[in-house]
């Protein structure tokens, strides 16, 4: 049975095209992916991402427990701060990627991928032995709205929010009289906010944001544009660019891993070894040199030899070019500017290795 978010009726009213995503009926687009994409890059867009998981971790061993399951240093995470984390298995492969928020002493919120909630919970329960910790899956009680784009800050200010809030922080706030948790994070490469609200108020808040946002050109945005936006920002999509056979080092996430963390964590030996001695495959950005589009699963060649595989690929509406993420063999002569080939319908098409992100990120706009 396909699950529906509390905003499902709103999507139907807005004539969204609905698709199945990780067992949820979700809007893929309302009008046009390209139009919606541009709305987020130029103005502001509203996303229903209520399918994502919310798991609360509490108890006196919360920090020790979280330190065991993620490579990041949760001891250093301050009150109301957020940190991008991964959930590695014992071989360093990724069960999920997530954001952990510190809500209080021994009180943490984990926001995880919809497709991975069950796996994440199983893994956490398996790892909690010996820790005095409570793992509370509240995914079914919360809706999550994302307000993203350069004008998100104007809209949130108009709605009474203190927009001095820093990037990667979370605060309890009231919007339109509704108690919410608001986080300055997103998955678009733009400045923006993610609003965690109890299900029963989500429809009211959705309508209110669209109404108040009208003067800023707000539009509802589907998962189609969410995908092209995150790809331009070179943000990983679990299931495409990350999986249980991929380590964070291979995925280009070394920047997120502290080198001095004392605590032991799952996969630490593999991850530390890769940080020191290098990896066999690594993530690169590609730009197609003709009009062809590389898609998930296509093979990548160099000097006639297969060296890798595309994990995400799409047209970039911002650049007007076709871009992709690929895992390639970590060989010396593949660097920025190298021309490789992508096999598309039995023909090789040239692509250039380019720097990530494809489109510069704008994490926080100050007023």
């Amino acid at each position: 049975m396909t699950k529906e978010t509390y905003l499902h009726d709103k999507h139907i009213q807005l004539k969204a095209k609905m698709v199945d995503f990780a067992g949820w009926s979700m809007p893929v687009q309302y009008t046009s992916i390209i139009e919606e994409h541009k709305t987020v890059r130029e103005n502001v867009g509203l996303f229903d991402v209520s399918h994502m998981g919310e798991v609360f971790v509490s108890g006196k061993d919360s920090v020790e427990f979280l330190n065991k399951i993620v490579p990041q240093n949760i001891s250093k995470l301050n009150y109301e701060k957020a940190v991008y984390c991964q959930l590695p298995n014992t071989k360093g492969g990724l069960i999920d990627d997530l954001i952990i928020y510190k809500l209080g002493i021994n009180n943490y919120l984990i926001i995880c991928n919809a497709s991975r909630i069950d796996e994440d919970l199983n893994w956490m329960v398996r790892n909690k032995r010996g820790f005095d910790v409570k793992i509370d899956n509240q995914s079914h009680n919360y809706s999550l709205l994302a307000v993203q784009g350069p004008k998100a800050v104007l809209l949130m200010q108009k709605m009474g929010l203190n927009t001095n809030q820093e990037s990667f922080t979370i605060k309890a706030a009231k919007i339109a009289g509704i108690k919410v948790l608001i986080s300055r994070t997103g998955y678009t490469g733009e400045d923006g906010f993610e609003i965690l609200v109890e299900n029963e108020y989500s429809e009211f808040l959705w309508d209110k944001i669209l109404e108040e946002g009208e003067e800023f050109g707000i539009k509802p945005i589907g998962l189609g544009a969410r995908d092209t936006l995150r790809l331009e920002a070179a943000l990983h999509l679990y299931g495409n660019d990350l999986d249980e056979n991929t380590t964070p080092v291979e995925a280009g996430l070394s920047w997120s891993i502290p080198k001095d963390k004392k605590d032991d964590y799952n996969g630490k030996d593999v991850i530390m070894n890769q940080l020191q001695n290098g990896v066999e495959k690594r993530l690169v950005g590609l730009k197609m040199l003709d009009k062809s589009i590389a898609r998930h699963g296509y093979d990548v060649y160099f000097n006639g030899e297969k060296i890798g595989i595309i994990t995400s690929g799409a047209p970039s509406p911002t650049l007007g070019e076709n871009i992709a993420l690929a895992y390639v063999k970590n060989i010396e002569n593949i660097c920025t500017g190298t021309i490789v080939q992508v096999m598309i319908r039995e023909k090789l098409h040239n692509a250039e290795v380019v720097k990530r992100p494809f489109v510069a990120k704008r994490n926080r706009i100050k007023l």
Partner: protein, 127 residues
């Protein structure tokens, strides 16, 4: 008579327009285009190429995915709508008068059209 009154449609959403003299115009229905969304890339065959009924003769890509297009009857390509590969977004505006894909000369017999539906029936089938 509107364009859709004159066409036959396949279950895989191609249309066939009889131009007489054993030649036909082939394209994708408005339903197919609407389902695909923004069209960003089109790969068409070359004039002279021959295909059997059901063969993939072209590829269309929306922002999200690539899809194959099948020839509704056996035929030889006699004309390609060249302008479309430069401006694939034309298909989102008009997939009939301006957005046809290829013209073909039929190489099979009329019985190949037996599984094609009139537009009204095709629409009904979708519901």
């Amino acid at each position: 008579m509107s364009f859709t009154d004159k066409i036959l449609c396949s279950k895989s959403h191609e249309y066939l327009l009889d131009n007489g003299d054993n030649t036909f115009t082939v394209g994708l229905t408005d339903y197919a285009i609407e389902q695909l969304g923004d069209i960003v890339f089109l790969e068409l065959p070359e004039a002279g190429q021959e295909f059997k009924k059901g063969d993939t003769f072209a590829t269309i890509e929306s922002v999200k995915a690539a899809s194959e297009i099948y020839l509704p009857i056996s035929g030889k390509i006699i004309e390609v709508n060249e302008g479309l590969t430069e401006a694939p977004e034309t298909l989102n505006e008009d997939c009939y008068e301006n957005g046809w894909l290829v013209k073909i000369e039929a190489t099979g017999d009329e019985s190949e059209q037996a599984d094609l539906m009139e537009y009204e029936d095709y629409k009904e089938e979708l519901e």
